[in-house]
Amino acid sequence: MKLTKSDLQKLTCGRETGDRTGCPTPEQLAACADGAPSSPLTAHVTAHVAGCSACSSELRVALALRSEWPLETRSVDAPVPFPPARRSYARVAWVSALGTAACVVIALLGRSALDRFSRDPVPAPVLRGAEGIFGDPAPADRTVLDAAPARLSLQIDRTRIDPQATFSVALFDAEATRLWESAAEPAPDFALPDSARSVLRPGVAYGWRVFVRDRVETWQSPLYRFEFRP
């Protein structure tokens, strides 16, 4: 029996795809097209696509879409503020008066801003798919330290990410201004330089989070907060 290369391609591409349960998800195909050669996800997807005409046509759509997409612009690149402003918009004056009174009471009781977080925690903004990757932070969330921290570190389940992934940490103030960001490191353990520590003030709450980049995904840890005593 004879077959030309064109026959071969038409046969392979024209294969009817029935059950799609073993196929990569649209999210995985989109991530693969978003560019991360040599990542485990890409390897998994391309190995599958090589034998699946339905996924190959979908990957081609994702690639075409990606090729049309612009590179990152700076126009909206500023971080979107964290945490969501949990502010009451009640317009009655007595609310602010009550708030002030509450602050005075809390201050008198010697309670810090972080104590209030424990009663009203900020929802942790975790990117989809990152659940369970992040372990314990050091310093622990909502810790009141004796001095500005010298290091920030986070336990991460390395078995669930690309071994080539890099880590960075960003330090924020309460208005989501990025005060400092580390360079990409091979491990989620960061020494705070004096330049970063010098901008920290005692009695003020700060937040930090770790970014994991593996060339396919960028995952961000939940937000961890700390303050330190005068």
Binding site: M1, K2, L3, T4, K5, S6, K10, L11, T12, C13, G14, R20, P26, E27, A30, D34, G35, P37, S38, T42, T46, V49, A50, G51, S53, S56, S57, E58, V61, A62, L63, A64, L65, R66, P70, L71, E72, V76, D77, P79, V80, P83, A85, R87, S88, V95, G99, A102, A113, R116, F117, V122, P125, A174, E175, R201, G203, G207, R209, T218
Partner: protein, 209 residues
Amino acid sequence: MGKPLIPDGPMTEDAARAQTEALLERLLGAYGQFLRGTLRRMMPRQMGISLDDLEQDVRVRLWRALETEREIVSPSSYLYRIAATATLDAVRKARTRRREVPLDDREEGGMWAAESGGVGTSRFVASGDDPATAAARAQMLERIDRARRSLVPPRDEAVGLHLQGFTTREIGGLLGWTEPKARNLVYRGLAELKTAMGNEGVELEADEE
């Protein structure tokens, strides 16, 4: 004294919604026009996907994502993922609908024609096959799969992607190879495939010019 991270009082639903709306407007202000233009050009219209529906779906997904994710590190890439995922979901739904349509009623031509076997005139690829031809095609595909799986990695993958219609540039981009390396692996892989197909009783010959 700095402001506390969480101002006193619970966040109202209206406030949360207002914040999400502001983020959505910010993203769509930067990318909205581009998003619509790109979806219009790129979406597989012949599959019966509505641009308006798709764009609406992207907005809804974006809204939901913004409700839970408060920091967007790479807005362009972020929006791309959402748009691509929504498009591919729409494609899968359309494909499911198409499976319920008789083969002869499907349109031909374009990127999606391969789904219905519409691009080929080969004895193996004609649409509306009779059972005997369909069985012959299935048997042939089994032989091709066996032969491809017998190739030395990573030639098997290179050949597989090539047979699926990817260019050597695309293959290189996907697998982190240079284009010459991808071309070389496809070339050597096809030569190896020819031998393997021979073992399956199929002779691969050059295309007629």
